[in-house]
């Protein structure tokens, strides 16, 4: 395989890992503010460490440098040398942001060359001791006794120990950076044991022009010499093997005189007990490319089809020769295969599922920033983050949710003082709840803010010329509320940077509909608002209602089907030359499917005494789709239409039925829109 191909492969892996670790980093950092426990710090530290390691391995030195600084900061927090303050928190979060930006830049093929000096300086400057640090003071002066002791303590393996001393050029402007690069080299090929001055001092540029590093490595010394040579602004450097003199072990006090000048080659075995490095916890997961899962899904789909055919063939054979003993065995085997295939499909679906936490986890951060910016106090409560849904839905649900959340905070919640005056707690609460209901996921976003004033929505709609004052008054409160999803309508009195421009809720609704979902709003003035989203668990497999019309089988997504009816021919009435029926007191317009999905061959409708009507709904609209007959209910795997088919109005995709034939999936929303458009023209 070509080397550059390999590299890009690793970049992908690196990015995936970085994604994961950055995610952990951010989550845990946010949690840290509330609960600065040691465990949490350890988790964060591990994430930072992993990031450092992998970015360094990939040669993203800038990324590695930032993570290294982060790691140092965290190390201090972990060791209790410093405590978490808001300033530190901010810096840590900014670091996490910067890393994300760098990661994006790498993902876009632009490398990690962004200048992060400011952040690095900030991080370094925050690493100030709250109390005088004992270890550094004890190492002041010559400090070689302690050095040996420290080295002995830190030596972890049998690898030889080296000593490197550097002298920077006189007018070196980035002492820290140079020293840091040297440390980076060391850590790349080995383990840094001790640095003089200590790393904290190096980071604060608390040293003259010289610094020394003691490290362990299995690599030959030439490798270091070569790498150190690449560091600019270094006047001279010297690397040599370092040896503990045996008496040093026996008697630490006397052995240190010529320690720094020892020139003898390292002995194979350092006189220390080797403590094997703690291995990272083994991971019980594997990363799989989604396209591979899709392929697998296709294969299972084929299996399902063949299974159906197999049982058909078995039935045919059985009808022919009842005597054959193999027939029974065949039926049994087919039954077994059927069960296995069903399980397989089920398991595969589960593999594609992700907890909605993946999306939700982005929000605490956003809420924190937003609340700070606009001076509100917000408590974000997240429930049901473990609720699982298909990747395809996860990917497209983030933005609409984010938008609703922003709205809730920006417009929904009142300012703290105002809340106090109303007798509410200063801190507003926004709740984000996800749960499964039937084969759907329901997400509720509610706030305990001022609620939406229905009258203001009405007034606004009239003002924008969307409705006449009379028709606005005729709307029920619920209908009026849902006007906020119409485009160009925002009830926010002020346009802010974040929301209130009147674009937004309509896009939110459009996005939700694209996912075959439904969004509704409920609000009580003074108490708060609740947005409810109902979404299918997956976009790859849907439950469909199979209907027959003009000799073809169509699939209607069950998510938009409300009920099916058998309507007597005489119950059908004409309104504006359009057919309609009265269903439980409400007028239900009828729409023959043939009228929208016009069959190519001329098809003559037989005289029938009744019609089959499928009542479908998108948001508040209800319409009865008339079909020739109902076939049944089935899970279908959605296949998108080939590019060569062009855009077919009223069809959202295709699927393969049990008999191996292809059936089209009806785009209910598209059908309704198309019929509305055509009606407008004819009227």
């Amino acid at each position: 395989m070509a080397p550059e191909l390999d590299m890009s492969q690793y970049t992908g892996l690196f990015l995936q890992e970085a994604d994961e670790q950055l995610h952990i980093l951010e989550q845990e950092l946010l949690a840290l503010e509330r609960d600065p426990s040691g465990d949490r710090l350890n988790t964060i530290f591990r994430a930072a460490h992993t990031l450092k390691g992998s970015s360094r391995a990939m040669g993203f030195s800038n990324f590695a440098e930032v993570t290294h600084q982060l790691e140092n900061m965290l190390d201090r927090l972990r060791a209790g040398q410093q405590h978490v303050t808001t300033a530190i928190m901010d810096a840590l979060l900014r670091t996490s942001d910067t890393l994300s930006t760098l990661k994006e830049s790498i993902a876009n093929g632009k490398g990690d060359s962004r200048d992060c000096t400011k952040l690095l300086i900030e991080l370094a400057s925050l690493q100030v001791d709250e109390e005088p640090e004992q270890s550094s003071s004890s190492r002041s002066g010559d400090g070689l006794d302690d050095l040996t002791a420290e080295l002995l303590q830190k030596v972890q393996s049998q690898a030889p120990v080296f000593h490197a001393s550097f002298r920077l050029v006189k007018d070196c402007v980035m002492k820290f950076a140079r020293a840091f690069m040297a440390i980076t080299v060391v850590q790349e090929f080995g383990e840094l044991l001790v640095s003089l001055p200590n790393t904290a001092d190096i980071e604060e540029e608390n040293f003259g022009l010289e610094f020394q590093l003691y490290f362990q490595s299995e690599e030959p010394i030439e490798r270091f010499i070569k790498s150190f040579r690449g560091i600019s602004e270094v006047e001279t450097f010297e690397v040599r093997p370092f040896e503990f003199s045996t008496p040093a072990v026996a008697d630490l006090g006397t052995a240190v005189g010529n320690l720094a000048t020892t020139k003898s080659p390292p002995k194979g075995s350092a006189p220390v007990t080797a403590t094997p490095e703690k291995k990272a916890e083994s991971n019980q997961t594997v990363r799989v490319d989604v396209t591979r899962l899709d392929e697998l899904m296709n294969l299972v789909g084929e299996l399902v089809i063949d299974r159906t055919r197999l049982s058909q063939i078995g039935a045919n054979l059985a009808a022919k020769s009842r005597e054959d003993e193999n027939i029974g065995a065949l039926a049994e085997t087919v039954g077994h295969i059927a069960r296995i295939t069903a399980d397989l499909q089920d398991q595969l679906m589960k593999t594609r599922m992700l907890p909605i936490d993946v999306v939700f986890n982005r929000f605490p951060r956003m809420v924190r920033v937003l609340a700070q910016k606009i001076g509100k106090e917000v408590n974000l409560v997240i429930q049901g983050g473990e609720t699982e849904l298909d990747r395809s839905v996860i990917e497209s649900i983030g933005d609409p949710l984010l938008h609703i959340l922003r709205n809730a905070i920006d417009h929904g919640l009142e300012m703290p003082d105002e809340r106090e005056a109303k007798g509410k707690p200063r801190q507003g609460t926004v709740t984000l709840v996800a749960r499964h209901r039937d084969s759907h996921i329901v997400i509720e976003i509610s706030d305990d803010g001022g609620g939406i004033s229905v009258d203001r929505v009405r007034a606004k709609a009239v003002e924008k010329g969307m409705l006449t004052p009379e028709s606005a008054q005729k709307l029920s409160d619920r209908e009026a509320l849902n006007l906020i999803f119409a485009s160009g309508l925002s009830t926010a009195s002020q346009v802010t940077e974040l929301s209130g421009r009147g674009v937004g809720m309509d896009i939110v609704r459009a996005n939700i509909q694209k996912l075959s979902g439904i969004i509704e709003v409920d609000s009580t003035p003074g108490v708060g608002s609740t947005f409810t989203l109902r979404l299918p668990l997956t976009l790859a497999i849907i439950r469909g209602l199979l209907v027959k019309d003009a000799e073809s089988i169509y699939v209607l997504p069950l998510s938009s089907v409300i009920e099916t009816l058998k309507v007597e021919e005489k119950a059908v009435q004409l309104v504006h030359q359009q057919e309609a029926i009265i269903l439980r007191g409400a007028t239900l317009p009828l729409l023959p499917l043939k009228q929208v999905l016009v069959p190519r061959e001329k098809y003559t409708q037989q005289e029938v005494a009744h019609r089959y009507v499928v009542v479908v709904g998108i948001a508040e609209q209800r319409i009865g789709i008339v079909v020739d007959s109902l076939v049944g209910e089935q899970e279908v795997v959605i296949k998108s239409l080939n590019r060569h088919c062009g855009d077919v109005a009223g069809v959202s995709g295709a699927t393969i039925l049990g008999d191996g034939n292809v059936a089209l999936i009806v785009d209910v929303n598209g059908v309704i829109q198309k019929s509305l458009r055509e009606r407008k023209w004819t009227n």
Partner: protein, 157 residues
Amino acid sequence: MSGLLAKEEKHADDRERVEEQQLVVFRMEGESFGVEIFKVNEIIRLQQITPIPNSPRHLLGLVNLRGKTIPVFDLRCRLGMPLAVPTNKSRIMVVEAEGERIGVVVDEVTEVLSIQSDEREPTPELLSGHTDDCVTEIVKHDSRLITLLDLDKVLVA
């Protein structure tokens, strides 16, 4: 015919290298058509095609190709021929067009033919018709005439 021969000689003059090429040959309306073999993925029996409403006439519909749905086009429609009645010799030729697999229905696939690249020649002007945008060359092989189809152009319609 003499004009044709003259053209061939002229064509033979500016030829540089002769290569062997393979064509999938199929028949429609008594005419032999050829498609370069590397464009053809596979040839399957005619199976039930699900029509797509509101789609262009030359798009016959979708078929199930081992768990994938692929669109099937009517080549006759594109070539200005009358619609055929499917027979048990009818086949769907699965080809790769612009990175995606599609099917075209043909009356009968007869053979895979090895030709020399110098047997290819531009369509004689007198023979070119309204399909000349997708039929730019013909092949003369052992005194047989085969119309060479440029599938990419056929499907752009």
